[in-house]
């Protein structure tokens, strides 16, 4: 994993769940939640779990005030770009609007090769169901954030109704996007309820749901 991984994608694509999964499993010490789009189900709600795994959380509301929907971003959000000891994941807000937040960091970015911008895709989200829709959303994201996407993540799922066939369905579409844009599929996340021996494209990881409530 690169020193900084920025996760982008349509809202509901699974960015926050993936951010938390990667933060816990990989040698990451900082999670920057700059989602100013979504008022509920944000990775910052898991501060304690993340802290227990040695991950500090930098968030986009005034500290510990989950009840606010002011689009406030802590100045600490730029730290991972400046302090090379930090290994960070950025959890962006949904759609290209979330990428707007990135623009303020442009002047801090020195080691561009240490940064991955990965787009999380679930083809069962109707706004990112086709090759054309996904490519259009990636272009919008790059235009708005003024940064190049470096890889894709297949997170195709219908939550606990996910099957192996569905993940392959997603892979078929996302592989076409990868080919047309010359991008790698960096990870495939597999819903933990899916039992499979298939190796999907990219690094395969089991997705454990931390953000969604168990009764939802």
């Amino acid at each position: 994993m690169k020193r900084i991984t920025i996760l982008a994608g349509h809202y509901g694509s699974g960015k926050s769940e993936i951010a938390v999964n990667l933060a816990i499993e990989e040698s990451i010490n900082t999670l920057v939640d700059i989602d100013i789009v979504n008022p509920y189900f944000r990775s910052r709600a898991l501060r304690k779990l993340l802290n227990d795994h040695g991950v500090q959380v930098i968030e986009s509301t005034i500290e510990n005030s989950t009840g606010s929907d002011l689009p406030f971003i802590s100045a600490k959000g730029s730290h991972p770009f400046i302090n090379k000891d930090l290994r960070a994941i950025y959890d962006l807000g949904g759609t290209e609007l979330g990428a707007k937040v990135l623009m303020q960091y442009r002047d801090f970015i020195q080691d561009r090769e240490a940064i991955d911008l990965l787009v999380v895709i679930n083809v069962f989200r109707p706004e990112t169901a086709t090759v054309e829709q996904i490519i259009e959303s990636i272009k919008k994201l790059e235009d708005t954030g003024q940064i190049k996407v470096t890889g894709l993540i297949n997170n195709t799922n219908l939550m606990d109704e996910t099957t192996e066939v569905m993940i392959l369905q997603g892979e078929a579409i996302i592989a076409q996007v990868a080919e047309q844009l010359s991008l790698p599929i960096r990870y495939t996340f597999i819903e933990e309820t899916v039992k499979t021996k298939t190796h999907f494209m990219g690094e395969n990881k089991s997705l454990i749901r931390h953000v969604a409530k168990h009764w939802l």
Binding site: P126, W215, L216
Partner: protein, 358 residues
């Protein structure tokens, strides 16, 4: 379209389009913003109307105007925004105009907070605006149920010529769930809108007027009695609920919306421990499904109303059971969502004999 994964707010927006919505008028408020956001993109693509009004009051009066012209109209908001719309809703009921209002509830009173709540129960079921009127209202628990009810609500509004409110808490607006948009639903056949002020009536030699003002008290009373007849028809035909594991239950939890989902988890655990808990889940909150409380099995000793509000729905449970059983209560407020364990503890404290006198 097969199953897709959607967020509650966007699923409701798409369901409205599928339900034949011609026009949307609204004003932004958390936690329902994805709904107008989705419609702002997709309504124009379908050649339909999307207007972000200058306020909630403006939006509901635009709904009044478009409904008066015979269109299928939607507005959406969250609790304090719905409070602002109440005047227009009363005018719509008085003028017998159909329209759908989606309320994604948050904590109150006043501006309150942005976290999920069910504290609009009284606002929805006890009027909110002036006069003897009711709003047909449904409070679904899953995105599939929500989508189906939103689609159906346009035909119900047309059939009864009355506003219909979909009441969900913020969690249902914000959560993701697999959903099938094209499930068959039973739609009421809507009569032709011969009453609409759309220019057609003048051709027939009779000018339609849409108005809620009536200065002759005897005429206005007559109009009120006509409305009452319609509300009685709704009470007879639109009570909807689900009874879950009530046949042998010792205690019945009454809960709707997100609370019912949490209660399901609690009941599963309680049953595993041998405690016979069941649930009555109101789907319509006006009319309240009083019918569900008739002829309960004799095993039932207690009812327990559980809400994300402080006893508002409990009043309807008390009225429905009419003194035959005690009605206990557990609730959280202000945007706090109870955990299943809190309900389990409450049930155990009741079963353990620590009953309150009601």
């Amino acid at each position: 379209m097969g199953k897709v994964l959607m967020k509650g707010n966007e699923a409701m927006a798409l369901a409205a389009i599928k339900g034949g919505c011609d026009a949307f008028y609204g004003y932004p408020i958390t936690p329902q913003n994805e709904l107008p956001e989705y419609l702002s993109k997709h309504m124009p693509l379908q050649g339909k109307v999307f207007v972000q009004a200058e306020s909630e009051v403006a939006a509901i009066n635009m709904v009044y105007g478009a409904a008066g012209a015979g269109a299928r109209v939607l507005t959406s908001s969250s609790s304090p925004g719905i409070a602002l719309k109440q005047e227009g809703i009363s005018y719509m009921a008085g003028s017998e105009l159909p329209g759908v209002i989606i309320n994604v509830m948050r904590g109150g009173p006043g501006l309150g907070g942005i976290q999920p709540s069910q504290a609009d129960y009284n606002q929805i079921t006890r009027g909110g605006g002036n006069g003897d009127y009711h709003v047909l209202s449904f409070a679904p628990e899953s995105l599939q149920e929500t989508v189906n009810i939103v689609k159906e609500s346009f035909s119900l509004a047309d059939y009864y010529r009355n506003p219909v409110m979909i009441a969900v808490d913020g969690l249902i607006g914000q959560m993701m769930e697999p959903v099938e948009l094209d499930q068959e639903i039973n739609e009421k056949v809507s009569p032709e809108k011969t009453w609409a002020a759309n220019g057609e009536s003048a051709k027939r030699g009779k000018i339609n007027k849409i108005v809620s003002l009536s200065l002759d008290p005897y005429e206005l009373e007559k109009h009120n009695l006509k409305l009452q007849k319609k509300y009685h028809e709704m009470i007879a035909n639109e009570q909807r609920y689900e009874s879950i594991l009530t046949a042998d239950a010792e205690i019945i939890i009454v809960a709707y919306g997100t609370m019912a989902r949490i209660a399901r988890t609690a009941i599963k655990s309680l049953r595993e421990e041998g405690i016979k808990a069941g649930m009555i889940r109101p789907i319509s909150i006006w009319p309240f499904p009083s019918r569900a409380f008739k002829n309960l099995p004799t095993t039932v000793k207690t009812l327990l109303a559980v809400e994300m509000s402080l006893g508002q729905m409990r009043q309807d449970v008390v009225l429905s059971i009419n003194g035959q059983l005690p009605v206990e209560f557990y609730g959280r407020a202000g945007g706090v969502v109870p955990e299943a364990s809190e309900i389990i503890d409450k049930v155990k404290s009741i079963i353990g004999g620590h009953k309150n006198e009601n």
